[in-house]
């Protein structure tokens, strides 16, 4: 007989009884403490059911256990006293709750503890170095007084603690005490526990801890440091907490995971997890490998789940996730590129870019008539339709959905002042966006249309004025202080001075390991007569400044030679 159990129960009494019977039948004495809040109608059948079972006893005194208050510690101390007195041969006492479940045969636990007779297994973390708590107080747990139960009187609790802080009412620690925190569930050796129970200063210490907040996470954890010979600062009970500090439940589908953890106990178990109770309440040695507890796999699973819950998936907007504007850094799921003015400067730019980088290159996604998906698709990945009405109804969601549905493949699309503009506000604030703008490139399109005779005279002038105004607006937007996108902007003339040198860093950024280095530059639009065209517009009274200065008369000299130049890798 090496280990006995103190079991604290308040709900799911039938499951607690089942576990207690199993423990007792395996030769481990159990003292059960039932919360005084458990109604008589539930407690009496429970107690009668277990009456006379060899090895099971009830605590001599029932405490009222309020979460975060002294009752739980008082109950534990009394029950431990009862257990140690009744069973003088015990070497260890294990504290568990009614929703704990042994995962390994108890003889293995007995052997494990027998081999470590003087070791205390209790998570005990000093408050000086690390943050153990998940939100809430840590140091203040010891410095303030907490006379009001948090769960029942939340406002009063806040008022009382707030007032103490404002007034600077703190109290000194008892001498020789170094506050430690840790999990409530432990397994202590007899000498340590007896030293705590029969400490000559116990009255003083108990009085202090009565007004500490959540003393069940600090009383034994602190005092064990005074008396223990060997502390193993870990709990033998596997329990997982979410980011609010509330314990996760284990269900039937966790069976394999719990089996492989090799931990001795787990909590909390969902009371209706029949399969778990049926599988683990046996001392069949075949189920385990006699290994050291190894909760790594469970830890990873639950920390992944917590991360997902805390951070969500960037760029996903869904039923249960509507990102808060200021708090979500990334608005989209992956990086993407916006090219404004490039398709006008280089006819056939989409095809060239697709060939050079191997990425998915769309046309003008926000074109007024239809969405120009790559390859002219009518329905793109993620069932996105090419209807402009659907897109313009909520352009932000359109873009976020496109990037979400094509995760793993960088998207590039063309943009210009003739397109629907609403989305640019969203793009500007998105760190995933890479925006490259050749301002004034729309003039090349107008030039071509004038030469084709589609647009002349005052209609041409009006269109030019409109496009320039729209472009000025998004240029101004992209220069705002809050912009998170990576923005590059040139005037058309400035860009054309060294087009490949300007393109190279963009390409390096979006496709650093592009399969094919660009061996040839994209074909430049014809600039013959473009300078004269701009001058005609200016002569008609337009204040045209975005495209920049082009020599009238003939094509500009350095880049104007429209011959493709070999791209030199520096």
């Amino acid at each position: 007989m090496s280990v006995g159990f103190v079991m604290l129960v308040h709900t799911a009494l039938d499951r607690a009884a089942q576990v207690a019977r199993h423990l007792a039948a395996s030769g481990c004495p159990v003292v059960i403490h039932a919360d005084r809040k458990v109604p008589r109608s539930a407690f009496e059948p429970f107690a009668q059911g277990l009456a006379g079972v060899r090895g099971i006893a009830f605590a001599s005194r029932r405490h009222r256990c309020e979460w975060g208050m002294w009752g739980i510690v008082g109950a534990t101390l009394d029950a431990c006293g009862d257990l140690l007195t009744a069973h003088p041969g015990l070497r260890h006492v294990y504290l568990c709750s009614g929703s704990c479940l042994p995962l390994r045969p108890l003889p293995e636990l007995q052997a494990y503890l027998a081999a470590r007779p003087e070791t205390d297994f209790i998570e005990s973390v000093t408050i000086d170095d690390v943050v153990w708590t998940k939100g809430g107080f840590d140091r203040d747990r010891f410095a303030l007084r907490f006379p009001v139960p948090f769960r029942r009187h939340r406002r009063l609790f806040d008022a009382v603690t707030g007032a103490q802080k404002r007034l600077g009412l703190t109290r000194p620690l008892p001498e020789g005490i170094a506050p430690h925190l840790g999990s409530q569930w432990w397994c202590l050796s007899r000498p340590t526990l007896e030293a705590i129970l029969h400490d000559p200063r116990r009255r003083e210490l108990d009085r202090f801890f009565r007004s500490v907040w959540i003393p069940d996470e600090s009383y034994f954890q602190t005092l064990v440091r005074l008396h223990a010979r060997r502390v193993e600062s870990r709990s033998l009970t596997l329990s997982k907490f979410d980011h609010f500090g509330r314990p996760h439940s284990f269900y039937d589908d966790h069976l394999q995971l719990l089996r492989r953890s090799d931990c001795f106990f787990a909590r909390k178990i969902w009371p209706w997890a029949d399969l778990l109770y049926a599988s683990f309440l046996s001392n069949d040695p075949k189920v385990t490998r006699n290994a050291e507890p190894n909760p790594g796999k469970i830890d990873r699973l639950f920390s992944r789940a917590t991360d997902r819950r805390v951070q969500g998936r960037p760029g996903l907007i869904m039923q249960s996730r509507f990102p808060a504007r200021r708090l979500d850094a990334a608005r989209t799921a992956a990086p993407y590129s916006v090219f404004a003015g490039f398709a006008e400067t280089f006819p056939g730019f989409e095809a060239w870019l697709g060939k050079t980088t191997g990425l998915r290159v769309h046309g003008h996604l926000f074109a007024p008539g239809r969405v120009a998906f790559a390859g002219g698709a009518q329905v793109h990945n993620g069932c996105l339709s090419d209807s402009a009405a659907l897109r313009d109804y909520n352009p932000e969601a359109f873009l976020a959905n496109l990037v979400w549905a094509t995760r793993g493949e960088r998207q590039c699309f063309m943009f210009g002042p003739a397109d629907a503009q609403e989305v640019m506000r969203f793009v500007a604030g998105d760190p995933n966006a890479q925006v490259s703008i050749v301002a004034g490139a729309w003039a090349l399109t107008l030039f071509a249309r004038e030469q084709a005779g589609e647009l002349t005279g005052s209609a041409l002038r009006k269109e030019a004025a409109r496009l320039q105004k729209v472009e000025l607006a998004y240029l101004a937007l992209m220069r705002s202080g809050w912009v998170k996108a990576r923005v590059r902007a040139w005037g058309l003339a400035e860009f054309l001075e060294a087009p490949m040198e300007n393109l190279a860093p963009i390409l390096d950024e979006i496709a650093p390991r592009a399969p094919r280095r660009p061996t040839e530059a994209p074909v430049l639009a014809s600039l013959d007569g473009f300078g004269a065209f701009l001058q005609r517009l200016r002569n008609d009274g337009m204040n045209l400044h975005l495209p920049g200065d082009f020599p009238v008369g003939h094509a500009p000299t350095p880049p104007g030679d429209a011959r493709p130049r070999p791209y030199l890798v520096r």
Binding site: H248, A305, V310, M318, Q319, S320, G382, C383, S385, A405
Partner: protein, 359 residues
Amino acid sequence: MDGPDAPAGRRETMTAPEDIPGPLTRAAQAYRMRWKRRRLLFRAWRKRGELACVTPLRPVSKAAVLCLATVRNEAARLPFWLAHHRRIGVDRFLVVDNASDDGTRDLLAAQPDVALWETRASYRAARFGVDWLGWLARRHAAGHWVLTLDADELFVYPHWEERPITALAAELDRRRQPALGALMVELYPEGRLSGTPYRPGDDPVQALPWFDAGPYRARRQRPARNLWVQGGPRERVFFGDDPRRAPTLNKLPLVRWRGTHAYLNSCHALLPPRLNLAWEGPGDPRLSGALLHTKFLNTIVQRSADPDHRAEHFGDPARFGAYHDALAADPVLWHDRATRYEGWRQLERLGLMSSGGWT
């Protein structure tokens, strides 16, 4: 059955800061919503006379999860619908039968766990059954977790195959989340809608294995602060020209019901408004489920041609004539980007529902 058309309200998008009202406006809106909720509760109380009890509700334990539904001529769907929701652990069904003539009433009256009421009054005038169910919920379901469904919706949630709905309810209680949101995932067959036969009792997901994995657009609306999600196949096929009228796809089907709660707009929005805040903080994806919408079984084609059916659905039936015509013409909803339904893990992977850290 269909809900009314798109809810009206101011929109709240991710980038437009001007849409957040000031504190005074917010207070005024809150007050308006309070009165609106009272009006709805009063309305439900007034409509109580339209319901005649066929089978009374047998006593249930406090922890039981109840399911509420209004049905009309659903004899084909109900056997599987009942079986599915029994399997996930629903204890009792509280059903209003609205003038069925295909044996629905007898089928339901024969079930041991169904409490049945019947009415011949107008579904539309009862706000698409919401008034009737509101009264039943207030009368019989206060304090319970209540699942409000239509007969063409199958409720699924993370781990539903392994964990009963009572476990889900306990988890929501633990998180102090008073309601669970769900996206309607609209299922459709591969060919024409009328082309796939369906026998009562079969799993409709076998007949309708396809769905659209996107795009879904969400925005938040004032003053009820409800989410408004649109998208999916119906929008793609029928509402491409007028997206505002595309069906609303978010619902709050599972609610810890209190006598003071009222559904505002089918199950899409709840009052008081705080229940609509289905997220709790920065980027925090809550638990959510999904409703497998089996509307497009072969019966839909005939039904859409039926003038009675047309008149009883949508806030403004006249505007939806073209939609019903299109459905009656037996269209193909399938396309080569459609996704085959595999189960809840697939829905979670695609970002259509979230286990919100419940592993």
